[in-house]
Symmetry: C2
Subunit: 233 residues, 2 copies
Amino acid sequence: MTALPRKSVLLLSGGMDSTTLLWWMRDRGISEIHTVSIDYGQRHAVELESSASLSRLAGVNSHRCLEVDLRQIGGNPLTEIGRPVPAAEQERQTLTVVPFRNMLFITVAAAWAETWGCKDLFISPVRDDFQIYRDCRREFYDMLEKTLCLGATRQADYRIHTPFVEKWKDEIVSIGLNLGVPYAKTHTCYEGKRPACGRCDACVERINAFRANRTVDPLAYEIDVDWTTSRIV
Amino acid sequence: MTALPRKSVLLLSGGMDSTTLLWWMRDRGISEIHTVSIDYGQRHAVELESSASLSRLAGVNSHRCLEVDLRQIGGNPLTEIGRPVPAAEQERQTLTVVPFRNMLFITVAAAWAETWGCKDLFISPVRDDFQIYRDCRREFYDMLEKTLCLGATRQADYRIHTPFVEKWKDEIVSIGLNLGVPYAKTHTCYEGKRPACGRCDACVERINAFRANRTVDPLAYEIDVDWTTSRIV
């Protein structure tokens, strides 16, 4: 476990994992937290509203929305309106990959952070992610960290903190419930729906994480969810 | 010297170095060249026009303009209208650094390239650059290359080719003159002026590179340039 910084930037999507990380950082006593959300042309822009309101609720030092338009990259259903999001049962998560998304997000956040002298960046990949998404593995962040150090305007020790990278989503929920994370205000659904669709990959993962904790997710879903089952769908 | 790929993406700013690289790639027989220019909110947007017209002139397979708005990052005179560009004599190049600019450009180009299966990226840092710009050193590109390999959607061997990284600007001009690069159509001036200002750091470097080759730069300048002197200003 590395020492925690005084001054930090958190990539906050307003989802379950990054919001839990925000509450975790606050709990750990990081005195200065600046949240960044990325407007990448996502069709679920509701994510940006969640990020802003959760930042206010957490009382962060600043919240900033940075723009990296991934629609121009093309090829994935998270940004293309016409392309259907794969349901959890059928096509798996690789179809929802935006190439180098986390790398772009970290780099643009690092660029902004450099202008005011912050070198500590937090992001919330979890263990469930890195089974599929290669840019959610710590190995990748180690290399990205070294690249930032070499590419910075002046010699500097950039750190990319990923305290949840070895944790499963159900552990995240467990941590968050203990910290009082307002999960009803977070956002997950790939479809960008409120109430959440309850069927897409992201919703199903979330529902199962709450089920594993024998807890009802306070988020509104457009389907009836059976919270008593422990069956992982 | 590494083997050259068949299919490639070149980051083309339309300046002296990247344009020479385009002609060099063509000369080396790379059969498929796709140029990318980045609209980063530069005040010298004339660079984007140069890039497009030079791409046409070179007969590339495709030309694409990708957008990464660096104005939102702030803190540098290349994107901020109100901030004066430092004259060559006074403040040196560090003031014209946009944090992680090349890293963002390479990453967004790599993301686009991934969607159609290209893993070979060309960029044109030169030796004069890496005295000041840390993200122009090969050491940095080696690490960035490894990061791309680790972060790609699927296991892949990304290569960032920097064939000019050990060459000085006067060597670039020498190579380009031999290859018939249409230097009158390239663009350099930090001020974004046409005719070029002849006073900013970029102009002065360019003028000196032509002087070292005992050649007159065919580009139009708004000041009278003495091409006979070998004095480095």
